[in-house]
């Protein structure tokens, strides 16, 4: 139940974020739905560790975003960016930089490395999603 409530909050937050970038209301709602789904998957797979959970979640966001964008004949970026915003390591990067400022360089380095690994896993998940959907779409087009 808690996961569902958090996913709803994630959907509202990511939908609002998409709206701030001037998306239409429909695209903001869809971006929010993708974000909520992403957080739901992230919460379910959190037991495997942050990196693995982020990778799986980014893959699901990428696949969902690409499929919805294909149906609506729009680019997938607005939906995917709306979706991944709940996963991006902005707060971790901020904490890392804060540690550097207060002179705790070792803690800062660890957190910055975490932030880059999470960013890398999001990027990897999205690239894999693009590759999978490209193959699927090409196959459908040939038929």
């Amino acid at each position: 139940m808690k996961i569902l409530f958090q996913s709803l909050i994630a959907a509202i937050a990511s939908g609002s974020f998409t709206l701030l970038y001037n998306a239409t209301l429909v695209d903001a709602i869809l971006g929010g739905t993708v974000g909520g789904l992403g957080w739901f998957v992230y919460s379910l797979t959190a037991g495997y560790g942050t990196i693995a959970a982020t990778l799986i979640s980014a893959l699901v966001i990428g696949l969902t975003g690409r499929i919805i964008s294909r149906i609506r004949h729009i680019p997938s970026q607005p939906l995917i960016i709306g979706g991944i915003v709940v996963l991006v390591p902005g707060f971790t990067a901020f904490k890392a930089m804060n540690f550097f400022i207060i002179g705790e360089a070792s803690s800062g380095t660890n957190l910055m490395l975490d932030a880059f690994l999470v960013a890398a896993s999001i990027g990897t998940g999205l690239i894999v999603a693009v590759a999978i959907t490209s193959i699927i779409f090409r196959t459908i087009k040939r038929r």
């Binding site: 937050a13 709206l19 970038y21 001037n22 991944i84 709940v86 707060f91 999001i122």
Partner: protein, 250 residues
């Protein structure tokens, strides 16, 4: 030939200003060029666009253009993307596409400020709840996020992103300190963690990595460097604000 090249450059610049990924923009420009009957070489390095076209007689023309400040406007991005698809599919001719592009670029529709302030508040409160978990801190983050977002809309007029981030950092830390006694049960780190989410360049970090892995190494690396600079400005701003409070640890 010059008109066609100008059209391709305008498309590339408009896409980049709307937040299009570098690789996608390069692909679109190449396909437009092919549609117009040219051989095309394109390189987009963050804010600089290089396009060379060559016709069947071997005459070539090169253009270099700076895009200026990059931001994200999904509405324009979707419209330009649709226009390109229609042009490539032959549903619209060159003249009409050129006119339509100018019309889209000159559009300046944004949501009313009150809608954007509510959206900013929901982003801040939502992220605080997801990342930290305190309900009162989430409410305080919503209030602070809305206030800082509205003020930073005016500071944006100064057109210096480092200064915008720095001033947002100062406002967030001082605002969090002022809101702490009003919202009983909230924490300083909780309020700040939600309010900063509008300003941390998390997307830039992720997009930068995506571009590096899609062979746009220079563009991706530049994005990572910019993200780092913006992050430093934000943290310096928060640190400057917290000097008055007496230090803060997360």
């Amino acid at each position: 030939m010059e008109r066609e090249l100008d059209f391709m450059t305008d498309i590339a610049a408009a896409l980049m200003r709307c937040g299009s990924p570098t690789t996608r923009t390069e692909t679109w420009v190449s396909r437009i060029g092919q549609k117009l009957g040219f051989e095309v070489e394109t390189a987009i390095i963050y804010t600089v666009i290089y396009i060379t076209i060559k016709d069947i007689n071997g005459n070539s023309l090169t253009i270099t253009k700076r895009t200026g400040d990059l931001s994200s406007d999904f509405n324009k991005f979707i419209k330009i993307d649709r226009l390109i698809k229609e042009f490539i599919d032959g549903k619209i001719n060159f003249e009409d596409a050129n006119a339509e592009l100018k019309k889209i670029v000159n559009e300046s529709y944004t949501y009313p400020i009150w809608i954007r302030i509510i959206a900013a508040a929901l982003v801040c409160g939502g992220f605080e709840y997801l990342l930290i978990g305190g309900l009162m801190s989430a409410v305080a983050s919503m209030v602070l996020g809305a206030l800082v977002y509205s003020v930073s809309n005016y500071i944006r007029l100064l057109d210096n992103r480092f200064f915008q981030q720095f001033s947002a950092g100062i406002m967030i830390s001082l605002g969090a300190w002022l809101l702490l006694p009003i919202f009983k049960g909230s924490t300083l780190s909780g309020i700040i963690s939600g309010a900063i989410m509008l300003f941390v360049p998390g997307l830039l970090i992720t997009n930068g990595f995506s571009e590096i892995s899609q062979s746009s190494v220079v563009s991706g690396t530049v994005k990572e460097s910019e993200a780092l600079a913006l992050l430093i400005a934000l943290v310096f701003g928060i640190s400057a604000g917290t000097v008055f409070i007496g230090g803060m640890k997360f």
